[in-house]
Symmetry: C2
């Protein structure tokens, strides 16, 4: 079996670290492994399968000879460096927002539109975490009944802001538990411990945040539904790493909760956890550090004009894994298949 | 000015304690004050305006000579004792679920249907906390545009389970902050610290919880909208005492976000906090221990078939105050006016 030279851009962050773990767990055919980060981290060593890999500064030249780049850096770094990687012959799977809506760049959730990978010109984008965790359970229902409208309220974990977000929530929680007053937040706009922040990203003119509009814009592109209408409210909650979403879906054709459960039980990457009588439903604590997206609380939307064509459900998934790193490595797997 | 003999049933709980504080703050014309609780608490003393009030065991006879009872006990105690209070001539404002849907019992949010108080036969019911915090900002919009459908996802605080719920969240938070493992939960079905629990109350046959159905059943009764359709998802979040709600409303007639903000700015009991450019929106930490229900994130529902007749918004309010105690004392004020 052939192996591939792989680079991770942003290898020291929460998503980059998880990408490395996923390459190992999934036994990706890694030949040379290059870990790239800012100059600040260069020289540090990270272990991969018993070997110390020295972190290199991310420069255009650092991509020479690389087959596959996994991008886990922010938008600005991604824009500056990833086209340089493509220029040098690499194929890039990027987790930033920078290229997601570019018509020349496939935006891929392998279980939904893996075939789109073939249309790439060097760059493939990994969707937003909340989009992935929302669409994974919605897609199998769309295949049966034809999705027309989504209304989503998210409950998003601190990990969405990376390792600094996780640190800030843990630090604030300890302060609150000690009965002290939390100092000024550095990562989030406001205190997150014992609080909720109904803002993720900046606000647009229509009153929606950038994060909220991703669910519609990315959802349309991934599912090939250019007319899909999505109303999303994104809220940061004091939870570590699984995002949760309360989702109402309207369809063209009837679909019952039982049909939905059957379809989801057979869907790849999704696990149905829907046993209300025993208080079993997806929860962030139980779904963290796993690659599956969990779905439960499946029921008719009793508010719909025609409840037989509308469902409500609740999904939970690890934001760093399937919401970011795992999905990117899955795309890389499609590339080498 | 005349004064009234007042009893609080369940005086030692989170809501009962807050009722006592509200009577004081709002300068309710209290003559005799009788604090009633279980036999276990009888004999304890609670201070009211500098006077020690000895807690009495709640028995039918304990209501003799009382004008107004504020009920802060659970459904079973309410059912057993409050009809006895009515029999003895008292007028009862009850916060339990026991009588809310009884056609002979007005269910009242003073800012919405205060006039319904006049139709009472001794018992008036205080609505569910999530219902109050959801309907307060929706009602002024209904008056303009005619509400037809609500889709609500709640973010409900630990205080909804009373003082034991608050204690459990604080205790678990300290354990998590210390890096230890949380022991078995006593109050909630699962660990709440760093977690979300998408279950409040028991499940019905349609897959909705009792708490979720309250939003529709109580909403219809309070707003006199027997055909109102509501899809609600209730989720417990690791927050102390303000409930938050992500609400999508559909209307018969057009209503713009600006019209909505203007109507809400003039509405009693509601405060508009909607300045996204400065990251100002309602949050549980900032809205706790206040009587107002805060509303923000007001925008068109861009997923609606006709977005000019649909809005999305975010409300936050103290569950123990306006969600329970304050609303009950406001009803009592209507009674003595």
């Amino acid at each position: 079996m052939s192996s591939y030279s792989v680079a991770i851009l942003g290898a020291t962050g929460a998503v980059g670290t998880q990408m490395l773990e996923c390459l190992d767990e999934r036994d990706f055919p890694v030949g040379e492994l290059r870990l790239l980060a800012s100059a600040r981290s260069a020289g540090r060593k990270i272990d991969y399968r018993g070997e110390d890999i020295v972190i290199r500064e991310a420069t255009p030249e650092a991509f020479e000879g690389i087959d596959i780049v996994l991008g886990a850096a922010g938008d600005a770094t991604a824009k500056a460096l990833l086209p340089e990687a493509v220029k040098r012959g690499a194929t890039v799977v990027d987790n930033s927002h920078a290229f997601r809506l570019d018509p020349d760049v496939p935006l891929v959730i392998p279980e939904i539109n893996g075939g789109d990978v073939a249309r790439h010109h060097g760059l493939i984008a990994n969707p937003n975490c909340a989009t992935i965790i929302g669409l994974m359970p919605v897609w199998p229902l769309h295949e049966i009944a034809g999705l027309t409208r989504l209304i989503v309220s998210t409950y998003q974990a601190a990990s969405g802001a990376g390792a600094p977000g996780l640190d800030e929530l843990m630090r604030q929680s300890a302060i609150v538990a000690a009965g002290d007053t939390v100092d000024d937040p550095q990562v989030f706009q406001h205190q997150l411990a014992m609080n909720l922040i109904p803002q993720i990203g900046g606000f647009g003119e229509n009153g929606y945040t950038s994060e909220e509009m991703k669910m519609q814009n990315e959802g349309r592109k991934i599912m090939h539904l250019p007319e899909l209408r999505v109303n999303c409210t994104c809220v940061r909650v004091p939870v570590m790493r699984s995002h949760s979403e309360s989702i109402t879906c309207e369809f063209e054709r009837p679909i019952s909760p039982d049909e939905a459960r059957a379809a989801l039980a057979g869907a790849s990457g999704v696990k149905v956890e829907d046993d209300p009588a025993n208080s079993r439903y997806p929860m962030p604590l139980e779904t963290s550090d796993q690659d599956l997206v969990f779905v439960g609380r499946i029921r008719q939307d009793i508010s719909a004009p025609d409840p037989s064509r509308a469902l409500a459900l609740w999904s939970c998934g690890d934001q760093i894994r399937k919401g970011a790193a795992t999905n990117a490595v899955q795309i890389a797997e499609l590339l080498v298949k």
